[in-house]
Symmetry: C2
Subunit: 195 residues, 2 copies
């Protein structure tokens, strides 16, 4: 349930603007999103098949989104969003069930922020922040409690983990502030506008 749903969403998102082949989908996803750095075809193609069966996407024989259009390649299948797929994407983008998402799910949602409305963006960022805060407390409690049960390496590992999560929270804070100060402007934003 977990990752395939995320993969489905990521595919819907990446097909939003142009049809692509499976191969291209894999490359883009791998290049743009951490979670799919090493996505295997054994995951991708079955997922595409399921999506076709569910009517979310369509497989068509030719003319993907490539640059040159003259060649006569065989066996290339371009997938494109259907209307139900498009609705499903909108639905997903509007629903900020910010609870229970794992890191990967957040990344995918975030990467689709350009097509997410401002209120939902804010809710997602805040939801993510509060979950990370909980984690922060758990880990720092753990660190305090182990404290004298020595093992400096384990402690160092946790200290480092803690730091990374703290930075993640700071990053979110910056983003949240940005979203807030951008209020009154666009509803369908496209830039974190900070540097």
């Amino acid at each position: 349930m977990a990752k395939t749903d995320v993969l489905t969403l990521a595919i819907l998102g990446i097909l939003r603007d142009q049809p692509l082949h499976g191969y291209q989908i894999r490359k883009r996803l791998g290049a743009e999103l951490g979670p799919f750095r090493a996505l295997s075809y054994g995951s991708l193609y079955p997922c595409l098949r399921r999506m076709v069966e569910a009517g979310l996407i369509e497989a068509s024989g030719e003319e993907p989104a490539g640059s040159s259009s003259a060649s006569s390649r065989r066996a290339r299948i371009a997938y494109s969003l259907t209307d139900p797929g498009r609705s499903r994407l909108s639905e997903e983008l509007a629903n900020a069930g910010a609870s229970s998402w794992d890191d990967d799910a957040f990344d995918v949602r975030f990467s689709l922020f350009a097509h997410t409305d401002a209120a939902t963006r804010l809710r997602i960022l805040e939801g993510r922040r509060s979950r990370l805060s909980e984690r922060l407390e758990e880990v720092s409690d753990g660190l305090k409690r182990m404290h004298e049960r020595h093992d400096a390496y384990t402690a160092e590992l946790q200290r480092h983990g803690l730091e990374q999560v703290e930075r993640e929270v700071q990053w979110l804070d910056r983003l949240i502030e940005n979203e807030r100060s951008a209020r009154g402007g666009e509803n369908n934003g496209s830039a974190p506008a900070d540097h």
Copy 2:
């Protein structure tokens, strides 16, 4: 193959010093190691069973490592390392096949550094560092290449990911330096000794 092996190693490591119940193993692992924050019993107990079958650990009816010893609890099973389990742990700790490990595997190995010899520690740290460097290049290439294909949010996500990996590399560099400057001293170290 991937995570269970890591779980097996983590269990061997945590049972090195005292026998523990399954329940205690889960708690400790969850508290000390990120990868096992949400380890389920459905993963843990089958793994313990496999380890018993493989002769790496032994299940004994009573007397775990608890504080008070007077109570007569039922159905509590304390697992302890067998001699083969102990050898297996040593083997694993000596082998720094630093290639192909994922993040979780590194964390588990690192948490066992107190029982790992200095040369192996260094090899593991350097192996990890070089893999992260590769990732760094891939991601920053990707960032440069997308660059004008707009979408500021996706770019921001990658920038942030890049930063986190960069920090991870800096952390490793500090650790590596520490290990190097500690040369001539202990072979079986116990402290990163930096603050």
